[in-house]
C-alpha cells in the first residue's frame, strides 16, 4: 500500500505511524468516507494488538489522570470528534477547566462520594 509507510518496515514503528496517519486522514474528508485499508495491514493490526492484550492482565490496574469513553459502535466520525475534543494519544492532557458547573455542585458530589469517610 503506497500510502502507508515504507514497505521494509511492515509491522514496525514506521508502519504503525503510517496506519494511524492513514486512518486520521479521514478528518479531512467528508464524514463517512471509507479509509482505504489494506487486508494485510488489518491482519497485522489484529495479530499485533492480540499480542499486546495477552501481555497485559485481564484486570488492568491503571492510574489517574485518565479519560474514559463509552460505546462507539462504528461511528468513526464521532470517534474522531472525541479525540479532537479530548486530545489524541499520547498528547492527552487534562484541559484547564474553570467551569465544572457551580462550586456548589462540586462540593455536593465530593460530599456524596466521601460520605462513608465523613460518617466514619
Amino acid at each position: 500500500m503506497a500510502q502507508v509507510a515504507n514497505i521494509n518496515d511492515v509491522g514496525g514503528e514506521g508502519w504503525i505511524d503510517g496506519i494511524i496517519e492513514l486512518l486520521l486522514s479521514a478528518r479531512n474528508k467528508k464524514p463517512g468516507t471509507p479509509v482505504d485499508l489494506q487486508a494485510n495491514d488489518a491482519t497485522l493490526l489484529c495479530t499485533q494488538a492480540r499480542e499486546v492484550f495477552l501481555a497485559q492482565p485481564m484486570l488492568l490496574e491503571l492510574g489517574a489522570p485518565i479519560k474514559i469513553c463509552g460505546d462507539v459502535h462504528g461511528q468513526y466520525t464521532d470517534l474522531l470528534r472525541l479525540f479532537e475534543y479530548g486530545g489524541f494519544p499520547p498528547e492527552v492532557r487534562l484541559m484547564p477547566c474553570p467551569r465544572y458547573g457551580s462550586l456548589c455542585e462540586i462540593s455536593t458530589f465530593v460530599m456524596l462520594l466521601y460520605r462513608p469517610i465523613i460518617c466514619f
Binding site: 504503525i16 496506519i19 494511524i20 486512518l23 479521514a26 464524514p31 463517512g32 471509507p34 485499508l37 487486508a39 488489518a42 493490526l45 489484529c46 495479530t47 494488538a49 499486546v52 492484550f53 495477552l54 501481555a55 497485559q56 492482565p57 485481564m58 484486570l59 488492568l60 490496574e61 491503571l62 492510574g63 489517574a64 489522570p65 485518565i66 479519560k67 474514559i68 469513553c69 463509552g70 460505546d71 462507539v72 459502535h73 462504528g74 461511528q75 468513526y76 466520525t77 464521532d78 470517534l79 474522531l80 470528534r81 472525541l82 479532537e84 475534543y85 494519544p89 499520547p90 487534562l94 465544572y100 458547573g101 457551580s102 462540586i106 455536593t108 458530589f109 465530593v110 462520594l113 466521601y114
Partner: protein
C-alpha cells in the same frame, strides 16, 4: 480508556477498531481498551460487523478480528478506587482475583462472571420495585406519605442475558472492595452520562445520535489526578443536521461540561 462496543450498528466499525488497535500497538502503556458485549462473534455476526468485514475484506478477516476480541481485558481499576467495565457487576463476583483469573483467549459465555461484566445493567425501574413508606403525617386534613424508592438486589434483565442490579448491590460491592465508583457503558443515555445509586455508578456513552435514531449526546469522562471526575460532552446533531446536512460532523460544536466527584 475505552469501555468496549467498538463495532456494530454504525457504518465504520472497521475504521474504529483499526484506529483503536493501532493506538494500542503504538502506546501500549497509555491507551487501553476493554471488551464490550459486541466484541463477541455471536453478537457482531448479527449486528453489522460481520457484514462490513465480508463486504470490504472477507469472512476470514472477521474471524481474525474476533480472535483478537477474545483477548481483550474486561475490567480496569483506577488507583484502587474506580472500577470500570462495559456492563456491570455480577452476583458471582466476590473476589477481584476471579476477574484476573479468567483465561484468555475466551469467548463470552451465555452466563457467569464474564457474561455479567459485559452484559449486566443497573436496574432502571426506579418506580415500584420496592417502595417503602417511611412515614406519614396528617396535615391540613390530608394524609401525606414520604416515600423512599429503593432498588434492591438482582433482577431479571430485559435483554434476556445476565441480570440487573440495584443500588444496594453497587453500594455493598464498593464497600466490600474499598472502591468509590463504578464506571460502565452499555446503555444509551440522553446526556452521554448518567449517575445511578447516589452517584456511586455512572454510565458513560460516547456515540452521539446513536444509530441515527436517538437524540443523545456522547460523553467522555475525565478523571484528574485527585480522582475528581468531570465530563466532556459531544452534543447531538439537530434533526436538520441528521437529515443530511451533517457534513461538519467531525468538527462541529462540542461544549458543555458536567461536574463530578470522586
Amino acid at each position: 480508556l475505552f469501555l468496549g462496543d467498538y463495532v456494530d450498528r454504525g457504518k465504520q466499525s472497521l475504521e474504529v477498531v483499526c484506529l483503536l488497535f493501532a493506538y494500542k500497538i503504538k502506546y501500549p502503556e497509555n491507551f487501553f481498551l476493554l471488551r464490550g458485549n459486541h466484541e463477541c462473534a455471536g453478537i457482531n455476526r448479527i449486528y453489522g460487523f460481520y457484514d462490513e468485514c465480508r463486504r470490504r475484506f472477507s469472512v476470514k478477516m472477521w474471524k481474525q478480528f474476533c480472535n483478537t476480541f477474545n483477548c481483550l481485558p474486561c475490567t480496569a481499576v483506577i488507583d484502587d478506587k474506580i472500577i470500570c467495565m462495559h456492563g456491570g457487576l455480577s452476583p458471582e463476583l466476590s473476589q477481584m482475583e476471579q476477574i484476573a483469573n479468567i483465561a484468555r483467549p475466551c469467548d463470552v459465555p451465555d452466563t457467569g462472571l464474564l457474561c455479567d461484566i459485559l452484559w449486566a445493567d443497573p436496574d432502571p425501574s426506579i418506580t415500584v420495585r420496592c417502595v417503602k413508606a417511611t412515614s406519614c403525617s396528617f396535615l391540613h386534613g390530608r394524609l401525606y406519605f414520604s416515600m423512599v424508592v429503593v432498588q434492591q438486589g438482582w433482577g431479571e434483565n430485559d435483554r434476556g442475558v445476565s441480570f440487573t442490579f440495584g443500588g444496594d448491590v453497587v453500594r455493598q460491592f464498593l464497600r466490600r472492595h474499598d472502591l468509590d465508583l463504578v464506571v460502565r457503558a452499555h446503555q444509551v443515555v440522553e446526556d452521554g452520562y448518567e449517575f445511578f445509586a447516589g452517584r456511586e455508578l455512572v454510565t458513560v456513552f460516547s456515540a452521539p445520535n446513536y444509530c441515527g435514531e436517538f437524540d443523545n449526546a456522547g460523553a467522555m469522562m475525565t478523571v484528574d489526578d485527585t480522582l475528581m471526575c468531570s465530563f466532556q460532552i459531544l452534543k447531538p446533531a439537530s434533526a436538520a443536521q441528521q437529515r443530511g446536512n451533517y457534513a461538519g460532523g467531525g468538527r462541529q460544536g462540542t461544549a458543555g461540561r458536567g461536574g463530578g466527584g470522586r
